[in-house]
């Protein structure tokens, strides 16, 4: 056999081996990525129902949804007077009552802001961000108000994790981001 054909055969075998190895490598990477994914059981445990009927005004209630704290704050008359066109959109109306319902994790890096009922505002101790009673941001570093979880109104109850028309409206007009 001449040198040339050996070289051709070597190159071919090299490329064939390289190709299959690359394919296997990609497959392995995909398997590794999938192994790091959240488990289906984690993804599925995602619905919480809260009843807003007995919520008192200006008292922060904390519920839990997908391991995250959920803030519920019934607005008083005085608080409603302070809202603007924009911040009012953040509230959920049931009958005559207005509720702030949001994920209680700072939109900066995820600490839980504390509520001060006298000042009717939230302070995030981590990096000093503040929010008003509708959980809209009033001082950076947080880039936006607290996110509102997907909800569906069912009488005086809210089902968190399900998407109702009121929530879709909030998403559409940019009042909240999808969580």
């Amino acid at each position: 056999m001449s040198n040339k054909t050996t070289k051709g055969r070597r190159d071919f075998m090299g490329m064939a081996l390289g190709g299959f190895t690359a394919l296997g490598g990609l497959g392995a990477l995909y398997a590794m990525k999938r192994t790091w994914d959240p488990l289906p059981s984690v993804k599925a445990a995602g619905f919480t129902t809260i009843d807003l009927k007995d919520a008192p005004e200006n008292v922060l209630i904390t519920e839990k949804w997908r391991g995250k704290p959920i803030f519920v704050l019934k607005q008083s008359k005085e608080m409603m007077a302070k809202t603007t066109e924009k911040t009012k959109k953040r509230l959920i109306q049931i009958g005559d009552a207005h509720y702030m319902v949001s994920v209680g994790l700072c939109t900066h890096l995820g600490c839980i802001p504390g509520y001060n009922p006298e000042k009717e505002s939230f302070l995030c101790a981590c990096h000093g961000g503040t929010y008003d009673a509708t959980a809209d941001v009033t001082k950076a570093p947080p880039p936006r108000g607290l996110d509102i979880p997907p909800f569906k109104i069912d009488g005086t109850k809210l089902v968190l994790g399900e998407t109702g028309p009121e929530y879709e409206k909030m998403l559409a007009d940019g009042t909240t981001l999808a969580v």
Partner: protein
Amino acid sequence: MAHFEKANSIGEWLDQRLAVETLKRVLQTEYWIPKNINFLWAMGMVLAATFGILLVSGIFLLMYYQPNVNSAFDSVNYTIMSEVGYGWLWRHIHGVGASIVFLIIYIHMFTGIYYGSYKKGRELIWLSGMGLYVAFSAEAFSGYMLPWGQMSYWAGMVITNLFSGGSLHADGLVEWIRGDYVPGQAFLNRFFMLHVLLIPLAIIGLIVLHFGTLRIPHVNNQDGEEIDFDEAAKLYKEGKVKESKVIPFSPVFLSKDVLVMGVYFILFFYLVFYHFEFAMDPVNFDPANGLKTPTHIYPEWYFLWSYEVLRPFSTNIGLIAFAIAQVIFFLLPFLDKSPNVAPASRRGLFKFWFWAMLIDMLVLTFMGKLPPEGIWSVIGLVAALVFFALWIALPIITAKEKKL
């Protein structure tokens, strides 16, 4: 089969099969170290020894630690601390070691910066060293998750949230890293894997690489002098030990290293036995609670400077600043345009750059610990801006530097 003579000693027997004599020569007796250095050159071996101590104490902690969200906290704070015989010792060694190792790393880094030990053939030493810095940071962070206390949980929450990339809203990426919406079982388990296997393996590999990159350029010296190692070695081997500028790494230099290590370990064990509490955050003695943030979340002291670079800005700018601060030191050999390898004190403006950088990082560190309010916020912001201004100034002032 290769031909083997009968060996007359165990040494010879090993040499025939493993070339141990050659290895010893290359790595020890004829690996030349300049005489003109000081105790700061012992920090590398101090680091290697500290890593060894972390490894041994870690192995014993591993015997009782349970990576489970329900039992992790008690397995550390109850089982290891009060049931296991001398369990407290391993934990205090491990905690103190993890903190002190960063102090030594910073001294080691700033020694290199001061003497210009990152240029002219020594770039890879610097780059592999920065690789070690990043790997140790990841190791310390993942270890900090394990006791599953309040600081573990909330530091885990805040740091993984960095990966959402601010306005990019890569929440999917954050959930992927955590394996859950919030830090939970999947999160603890995977950080446990990283902490006890993958990152330590990477660290060992990087240490080998770091040592390898040293072999050809050799270590720098107090004057940045370019030594003719062949000539100096020849003198030494001829017995002209006084005239030669070098000594062999082992046993001569190592014995000096061991002296520094001796002093270091007296201090180290003084801390382990009498002042371990500085390495144990009191907040982390409360079990993790996803519905309650501690009043102040701050990282361990060695991450404070980069945390303070993040904090005074709005989310996006803060994240970009933080990302740059994490990698900028990698670029040092390429941003320093001066060919001079010399101590900073002889390098004109660079002297001021060096001290300004050191002091600025100390200020950032102190501010990072204080609550972000009033005057502290302002000082933090100024120090963060100075940090970037210094990096922008570096290529300019070093390009203008007079050649020595």
